[in-house]
Amino acid sequence: MIAGAVYLAGAMGVELIEARLDELWGSLPFSMMVVVEESLEMAGMIVLIHALLSYLASLPQRRALRIDP
């Protein structure tokens, strides 16, 4: 849920703000908005990977894989 919220905040939320500021396209403030958007997307994905790995660690070890917290 947190991963999805962070990802959507970056992908859609900041994107909508960027679309409203399209007259600033090509300027430094617009570029920084793009950096914020992409950073939130990457953060959302990292949170999702962390959550999935934590869930995998809680599963009984059936195969040749051991996940340490």
């Binding site: 909508l16 790995l53 340490d68």
Partner: protein
């Protein structure tokens, strides 16, 4: 690999590694954008670290993250306890969402959708008219501002 044949991975190390790699590309993206704002020409350093560009090193990082998340979903599906149809559907849906997000990072689907929503329902893209009597009409795909004729000319039958 251990003597027991188990592959050991540490969640903390993986997460820290992903954060460090992403942070490095974010810092490089900020530096290159500060030096040369806006979209860059291909085959330049600015383009290489442009977070919003396609076919750039920085663009591959979120793509790689989404692929990793999809692979984790596959592992959960494989190692997790078998449940009902609901659980199977949710696992498959989550896996496909991650694969879509991976493709989306290169195809910029969500950006196109976001701009369309904003232009369709938001204020962006609308013409700001100086006079409320002016009207905007679409003619042959172009937006034309219609200005009403002054009252004196309308009475005399003059045309513009």
């Amino acid at each position: 690999m251990e003597a027991s044949g188990l592959s050991r991975i540490s969640i903390r190390r993986i997460t820290v590694g992903l954060v460090v790699m992403s942070g490095l590309f974010v810092v490089l993206g900020i530096v290159t954008q500060a030096l040369s704002p806006g979209p860059a020409e291909p085959y330049t350093w600015t383009h290489l670290f442009d977070l919003d560009a396609e076919a750039s090193a920085a663009g591959v990082v979120p793509d790689h993250h989404a692929c990793s998340a999809a692979h984790c979903c596959c592992m959960v599906d494989r190692l997790g306890s078998r449940g009902g149809a609901h659980r199977t559907f949710m696992e498959a849906a989550r896996r496909r969402v991650c694969v879509y997000l991976s493709a989306d990072e290169n195809a910029t689907i969500h950006e196109t959708v976001g701009f369309w929503i904003s232009h369709r329902f938001g204020r962006a893209g609308r013409l700001r008219l100086a006079d409320p009597r002016h009207r905007v009409r679409d003619r042959d795909g172009a937006r034309v501002v219609e200005v009403p004729a002054p009252a004196a000319r309308r009475r005399s039958g003059g045309s513009w």
